[in-house]
């Protein structure tokens, strides 16, 4: 946080103007109530107020580094008092010292100066208090603004993720190709067509019903993935095989909804689409120590140069796991010798929120 006065040119001007005004006021009071020479009337207010103006800027630092909320009241009070004493003492020493030096001959004024010492100290303390209050006000206003900005940024981030999440949920090409398959099946085998329509409906209903921040049981989510794969199976026939091996203890484990969807979609996009050989997608899930481990693997043809960029779907899944489990879960992937594998660790301590 920058100094609220020296940080901006405008506030330097206002601050200087206020001090000049006080100096002028003091001069006018001297002119009417005391019988000083014109030199004193000009010099005393200028020197003492100029010095206070400079030292007053320092009062910001105790305000800045002794935030009310973080320290005990006694500590804050003692620290502020110490800072105030230091500033006031320095100010009195400098201003009275200089004025004493300049006007040594003027006995009346020197006597007045010494008499007014206590009064000057009190007035100084009052002004110091006002300054500290102003500083606290501006600093909390700055903090509020900063917080509002941060909240706005967060909100934008969340909105963006939500949007991309929604987009990734239903791939239009999947939908249209499936409808085309159905259109074909209505002629060759109406029963199969009806079956596919029902599975597609289940898939769509599930996709539309669940918000991305929701948790469902692993069993539910896997049921949904099986719907998805069985639809793709009709399109690709023998080319697509899939196996699920799920430890019974994991079935009721809560997982973020649609978390596996991009991974299965990737497996199909990068291996089944690109290969003429059968592709097997294997899903394993088992408890391990304190976490639930899921491994999705598939074979692919490594000789085919990929046509599209990889990694967006994976990054999305990783981001979501990081966000949802606050860094306690993890997503890893590796591709070797025609086998691609994604491992997700779900922390056990997280339960349905």
């Amino acid at each position: 946080m920058s100094h609220p006065i020296t940080g901006k040119r405008r506030s330097i001007l206002i601050y200087s103007f206020v001090w000049l005004l006080i100096a002028v006021l003091q001069g006018v009071i001297y002119l009417y109530f005391e019988e000083f020479s014109i030199g004193v009337i000009i010099a005393d207010p200028l020197i003492s107020n100029f010095l206070f103006g400079i030292l007053g800027l320092l009062a910001w630092y105790p305000t800045r580094y002794i935030p009310f909320q973080k320290q005990t009241p006694v500590y804050s009070l003692v620290a502020h008092l110490a800072a105030a004493m230091l500033v006031l003492f320095t100010w009195l020493l400098l201003s009275v010292g200089i004025l004493n030096g300049v006007f040594t001959q003027n006995v009346d004024y020197i006597a007045f100066l010494n008499r007014s010492l206590a009064f000057r100290g009190m007035l100084g303390a009052l002004v110091y208090l006002v300054l500290v209050l102003v500083y606290y006000l501006t600093s909390s206003a700055q903090k509020l603004q900063e917080r509002a900005r941060q909240e706005e940024r967060l909100k934008n981030l969340v909105r963006e993720t939500e949007l991309s999440m929604l987009k990734s949920q239903i791939n239009p090409h999947f939908l249209f190709n499936s409808l085309n398959s159905i259109s074909s099946l209505t002629m060759s085998s109406p029963d199969e067509a009806r079956d596919m329509i029902i599975r597609l409906s289940d898939f769509l209903r599930y996709s539309l019903k669940h918000r991305e921040n929701e948790f469902v049981t692993l069993q539910e989510e896997i049921g949904h993935m099986k719907d998805y794969l069985s639809i793709e199976k009709i399109r690709f026939g023998e080319k697509l095989c899939y196996e699920f091996s799920i430890n019974g203890a994991c079935e009721s484990f809560p997982v973020p909804t649609m978390i596996f969807q991009p991974l299965f979609e990737n497996a199909i996009k990068h291996s089944v689409y690109e290969s003429t050989e059968p592709v097997t997608i294997q899903f394993d899930c088992f408890p391990e120590n304190d976490v639930m481990k899921t491994v999705i693997s598939n074979n692919y043809d490594p000789s085919v140069p990929s046509r599209r960029g990889t990694g967006v779907g994976l990054q999305n899944v990783k981001q979501r796991i990081d966000l949802v489990y606050e860094g306690q879960g993890s997503v890893h992937w590796k591709g070797t010798d025609g086998n691609f594998e994604v491992t997700i660790l779900f922390p056990r301590i997280f339960t349905k929120r």
Binding site: F176, S184, R235, S275, V304, P305
Partner: protein, 253 residues
């Protein structure tokens, strides 16, 4: 009425079944083959020289568009795909038709009457660019980034990832593509490669050369004012003055 010989290239069996079922309404159309991937389709089209093909875009080995690029024989093309982004803007006038899945029997019938009138016309006046030539031109003007390049070399089809390209050299109407596995001649313009290769990775350093910057070993002065690139594979590539500017801005020096 002459029979029209066609080939179906489509990777999904239900989609092929649908085409065949629709085609039973049109006895004048003969299906001489059906293939579930771009490679087999390509070979069959070159051998059987059909009048027309039904072509999917998304397929293993070669996409529909890549297949068209390396085809010797040029049949009329009816695209059948769920991807609308290629179609609507660029191809509808050039290919005979572009069928968006799923499509109706009526819509399919329309495509076939377009095909018939196209075939009647081309047999009457052989002049003019074929649909495929036009598609090639449109492909060249398309905005999509290249991830791989398909090349025909001594009867074989090579699919090269752009990451494996070291540099590209202009050779009249062709370009020579230098990759780790060898060099390949392709009928294409330098402009096309300049526009479609990833500009983060490839820089046109000379009127006749585009270089993959990750393959540069060092840059040496050459003659008085010029520079020359020494590549990791040992090849040397001249750099023009504007090429040097481009290199500088890309490599930040």
């Amino acid at each position: 009425m002459n029979t029209i010989r066609t080939i179906i290239v489509e990777d999904e069996k239900p989609a092929r079944d649908l085409l065949k079922a629709y085609l039973t309404d049109f006895p004048a159309i003969e299906i001489v083959g059906e293939y579930d991937n771009g490679f087999d389709g390509l070979k069959a089209i070159n051998e059987a020289k059909p009048d027309a093909i039904f072509l999917d875009v998304q397929m293993p080995k070669l996409t529909g568009f890549e297949l068209l690029e390396v085809l010797d024989h040029q049949p009329e093309v009816i695209f059948t795909t769920a991807f609308d982004q290629y179609a609507i803007q660029a191809f509808e006038q050039n290919a005979v038709d572009y069928l968006l899945k799923p499509f109706s029997r009526e819509r399919f019938g329309e495509a076939l009457s377009k095909l018939r009138s196209r075939l009647d016309k081309t047999s009457g006046s052989p002049g003019g660019k074929s649909a495929i030539e036009k598609i090639r031109i449109h492909l060249a003007e398309g905005e999509e980034k290249l991830h791989r390049v398909v090349i025909k070399k001594s009867g074989k089809i090579h699919v090269i990832s752009t990451n494996d390209i070291n540099f590209v050299e202009a050779q009249d109407d062709y370009v020579m593509i230098y990759a780790d596995e060898g060099k390949y001649l392709k009928q294409q313009t330098m402009k096309y490669f300049e526009n479609h290769l990833d500009s983060e990775q490839f820089v046109r350093v000379h009127r006749s050369y585009i270089v993959n910057i990750s393959c540069i070993e060092r840059i040496e002065p050459y003659e008085k004012t010029n520079f020359i690139l020494i590549l990791k594979d040992g090849n040397k590539v001249p750099v023009s003055r504007s090429g040097m500017q481009a290199l500088k801005s890309n490599l930040d020096f």
